[in-house]
C-alpha cells in the first residue's frame, strides 16, 4: 500500500489480486445479494484507492481493509434498516441451549450437501456472529484483529465467533 501511495500501480494490483476473492465472499455472504455485494465491493476498493496518501502502517493491511469493509456494511445495514446484531446476553442463552455434538456422519461423506447446509445455516446467523465467522474464515484474522476490525472488545468478538461455530455445527448435526 505504501508503494502504491508513491505511485506504483502494480503494487495495488498485487494487493487487489490477493484480497479480492475473500473480500468479495465476505461481502456477498453478509448481504446475500450479488449486485449489492459488487456495489459494496467496488466502493470498498475505491476507498482504498483514495486512501493511498493517508494510509499509515498501524496494523496489517488485511485488518485495515476488513475494517473498511465492516464500516461499509454498517452503513448498508443502517440504510436498509437492518441492524439485527444480537446482544451478548441473548447469545449466551442461545449458546447454552445448543447441544454440542459431532457433525453427522452422512454429511462428512456428502460434501456437497454439507456445504449447502453450512451456507444455509450461515445465512441464518445473526449479522454479528456471521461476520465474526466470515472474518475468521476469509481473512484469517486473529480474535484480536477481528475485534479491532469490528470495533468491539476481544471478548465480544470471541463469544460471537463461538456462538456462530456452535450454531453452524448444530445445524449440521440437527439436519442429519
Amino acid at each position: 500500500m505504501l508503494r502504491y501511495g508513491k505511485g506504483d500501480a502494480r503494487a495495488f494490483e498485487l494487493l487487489y489480486r490477493r484480497h479480492r476473492l475473500p473480500l468479495y465472499r465476505f461481502l456477498l455472504r453478509q448481504v446475500g445479494n450479488a449486485a449489492t455485494a459488487e456495489e459494496l465491493f467496488q466502493d470498498l476498493w475505491m476507498r482504498v484507492v483514495n486512501s493511498r496518501r493517508s494510509y499509515e502502517v498501524r496494523a496489517k493491511f488485511t485488518s485495515w481493509v476488513y475494517a473498511i469493509a465492516h464500516n461499509r456494511l454498517m452503513d448498508f445495514y443502517r440504510a436498509s434498516g437492518r441492524a439485527s446484531f444480537l446482544s451478548h446476553e441473548e447469545s449466551e442463552s442461545v449458546l447454552e441451549g445448543l447441544p454440542a455434538g459431532e457433525i453427522a456422519a452422512d454429511l462428512r461423506l456428502d460434501r456437497k450437501r454439507a456445504v449447502e447446509r453450512l451456507l444455509a445455516a450461515l445465512a441464518g446467523l445473526p449479522d454479528a456472529q456471521r461476520e465474526a465467522f466470515l472474518l475468521q474464515q476469509e481473512s484469517e484474522l486473529s480474535i484480536e484483529e477481528i475485534a479491532a476490525a469490528t470495533g468491539v472488545s476481544g471478548e465480544t468478538a470471541k463469544s460471537r465467533l463461538r456462538y456462530a461455530v456452535a450454531k453452524l455445527r448444530a445445524s449440521l448435526r440437527k439436519e442429519s
Binding site: 500501480a9 455485494a37 467496488q42 475505491m46 460434501r111 454439507a114 456445504v115 471478548e155 465467533l161 461455530v165
Partner: protein, 251 residues
C-alpha cells in the same frame, strides 16, 4: 487471546464454490487505481497557474483590448487635428452643411486662396512701358533720371501689388478702389508718355550740345526776347556745368 478454528467447519466452508466478482468490476477498480496513480501531485507553481491562469488571461485580454481601443481613438483624433481641411474634403456631409453658409455670406475667402485681381493689368502695363523706355537705344540711365521720369521710379510701385492683393478679400468694397487705382494708373501712364515726349528733345540736346553751344543758344534766346526761357536754360546749364564760368553778358 486465541480461538482455535473449527477445522471441520472450515473444510466444509472452503469446499463451497467460490463466488467471484464480475470481470467489469475488476477492470473498473484496476483502471481507477492506475488512473489515480498516474496523476502525480502537481507542484505548487502548476497548481497556482491552474487556479489563477484563466482569471489572469481574461483580465489581460480586457486590458489589452481597452488599451488598443484607446490608442486607435487617440490616433484618429490626432489625425483630425493635423489635417482638418483634408478631413473636411473627405466628408461630403460637412461640406454640404457649409455650402449654404458661404452662399449667404458676403464672399470672404481664406487668406490662403487669392483670386485674380481686376486692376492688376495696368501695373504690368506701366512696368512694361517703363521697361520700354529704359530699353530705347541711345538713352542712358542718367538721361532717364530727370525730374520728369522720377514718377516712374520702381520703389513706390513694388509694394503696390501686395497692397492690392491684401485688399481683395473685401471684394465688393475693393471694387471701386480697384477702379480708382486703374484710373490713376492710366493717368500715370498718360503723363509718363507725355513727359517722355516733352523731355525727349531736351535730354539729347543737353547731351549733344557743348557748353559753348549751349551758352550760344541761351544768348540767342535772350536776344530774341525769351528771357524766361533763357533763365531756365541758364539755370539748367549751371546745374550741369557748375565748374564752367558763365560769361558776363549772360549772368
Amino acid at each position: 487471546m486465541t480461538e482455535p478454528r473449527d477445522e471441520e467447519l472450515s473444510r466444509i466452508y472452503r469446499d463451497a464454490e467460490g463466488p467471484r466478482p464480475a470481470q467489469r468490476v475488476d477492470d473498473n477498480i484496476i483502471a481507477a487505481s492506475q488512473r489515480v496513480a498516474g496523476a502525480r501531485p502537481r507542484p505548487a507553481g502548476v497548481r497556482f497557474a491552474r487556479r489563477w491562469g484563466t482569471p489572469f488571461a481574461l483580465a489581460a485580454t480586457v486590458v489589452v483590448t481597452f488599451t488598443l481601443t484607446l490608442m486607435v481613438f487617440e490616433r484618429e483624433s490626432s489625425l483630425d487635428k493635423m489635417a482638418p481641411a483634408a478631413t473636411r474634403a473627405d466628408r461630403p456631409a460637412k461640406v454640404l452643411q457649409a455650402e449654404p453658409k458661404r452662399a449667404g455670406q458676403p464672399e470672404t475667402e481664406s487668406p490662403a486662396v487669392l483670386r485674380p485681381i481686376a486692376p492688376a493689368p495696368p501695373v504690368p502695363q506701366v512696368a512694361a512701358q517703363r521697361d520700354r523706355v529704359q530699353q530705347r537705344p541711345g538713352e542712358s540711365a542718367a538721361a532717364s533720371k530727370p525730374p520728369g521720369t522720377g514718377q516712374f521710379a520702381p520703389a513706390p510701385e513694388a509694394p503696390r501689388a501686395p497692397e492690392l492683393r491684401q485688399q481683395t478679400p473685401q471684394a465688393p468694397a475693393a471694387a471701386p478702389a480697384a477702379g480708382a487705382l486703374s484710373e490713376s494708373a492710366a493717368a500715370l501712364q498718360g503723363a509718363s508718355v507725355a513727359a517722355l515726349a516733352a523731355n525727349r528733345p531736351a535730354v539729347p540736346e543737353a547731351k549733344e550740345r557743348t557748353p559753348e553751344k549751349w551758352l550760344e543758344d541761351i544768348r540767342k534766346l535772350k536776344t530774341e526776347g525769351k528771357a524766361a526761357e533763357a533763365e531756365r536754360e541758364l539755370a539748367e546749364f549751371k546745374k550741369r556745368h557748375p565748374e564752367y564760368r558763365v560769361p558776363e553778358d549772360l549772368r
